[in-house]
Symmetry: C2
Subunit: 165 residues, 2 copies
Amino acid sequence: MEDEVDRLLEAWRRERPDLDVTPMEVLSRVSRLARHLDRARSQAFEAHSLESWEFDVLAALRRAGAPYRLSPGRLLKETLVTSGTMTNRVDRLAARGLVERLPDPADRRGVLVQLTDAGRDAVDAAMADLLAHERTLLGSISERDQARIAGVLRELVRPFDLEKH
Amino acid sequence: MEDEVDRLLEAWRRERPDLDVTPMEVLSRVSRLARHLDRARSQAFEAHSLESWEFDVLAALRRAGAPYRLSPGRLLKETLVTSGTMTNRVDRLAARGLVERLPDPADRRGVLVQLTDAGRDAVDAAMADLLAHERTLLGSISERDQARIAGVLRELVRPFDLEKH
DNA sequence: AGGATTTATCTTGATGTCGAGATACTCTAG
DNA sequence: CTAGAGTATCTCGACATCAAGATAAATCCT
């Protein structure tokens, strides 16, 4: 069964028969699937009145474990955004009462961002929903194939994980 | 060998042992890899003074074949952006001399966007570079695995391809 | 033919992000 | 102890995007 990428590659092969476009068989599909997953995620979070970017921050704090407290700097690394963006995100999450800013007792330059109870409840509920939805998406793929593909993707991601140290 | 997603999932399993997070073994890696690919793409295009979004539009026109001419509406569907975005993109590409707007002789509401020679040269060079770079990224994956993973990804994307229209 | 609906594109205002720079504090070397 | 380098966070301006609405033209229906 054909998909959009098959059509895309067919067009390129017609127009540029000199190029070998097979890398796109994998990588274009990764990009397109990721775009679709983003939209699906947004929809899953809508039921919990969370934006994707809100979930990203809350989830990083939740994963950190009690007392659900991280520095903005640490949050940057977890969420791969810049410092200006994180300031903005924390501002909005604090305004919604999902996190609060605490002064870092060990470094007066620093700040700690901590999940409130409401924030924890929100992220826990959203996470359960997200996983349920993702399980549906993967429904047609055998566990064996899922494990295989996860292994290949791990190899593909590794060079990038390494370069940022 | 571990990657960032392994660490992520380990944290979730510690904090929420009640949840089954295995869907993320595949889907989180897809999302993260896509983000890395975006950055890599941007870098590859830098040598040609193209932004990713510029390439997306030029590539859609290039794929269409001579005379490299599409309506804005058609470009929306190819690039998955909104009409306001496309107006903006075409404006900028026209200002750079990479495309030009022509009136549609068959529909006076309509416009046709056409690649200039400079636009065609730019996208052809960028495409060759992009593929070279992508081939490097996939270097460690056997052709057999690439074909396998492409097949699984095609299945995962299909539901999304279907739902639009 | 004429009025209503649909279609194609552009305009506008809001949003989230980035990147560069500012500020305040900490650490290190001498 | 202090000067300089380094670090953590925030501020600000620019930018690409989206969503909703405006405009204009084509198409449909009676």
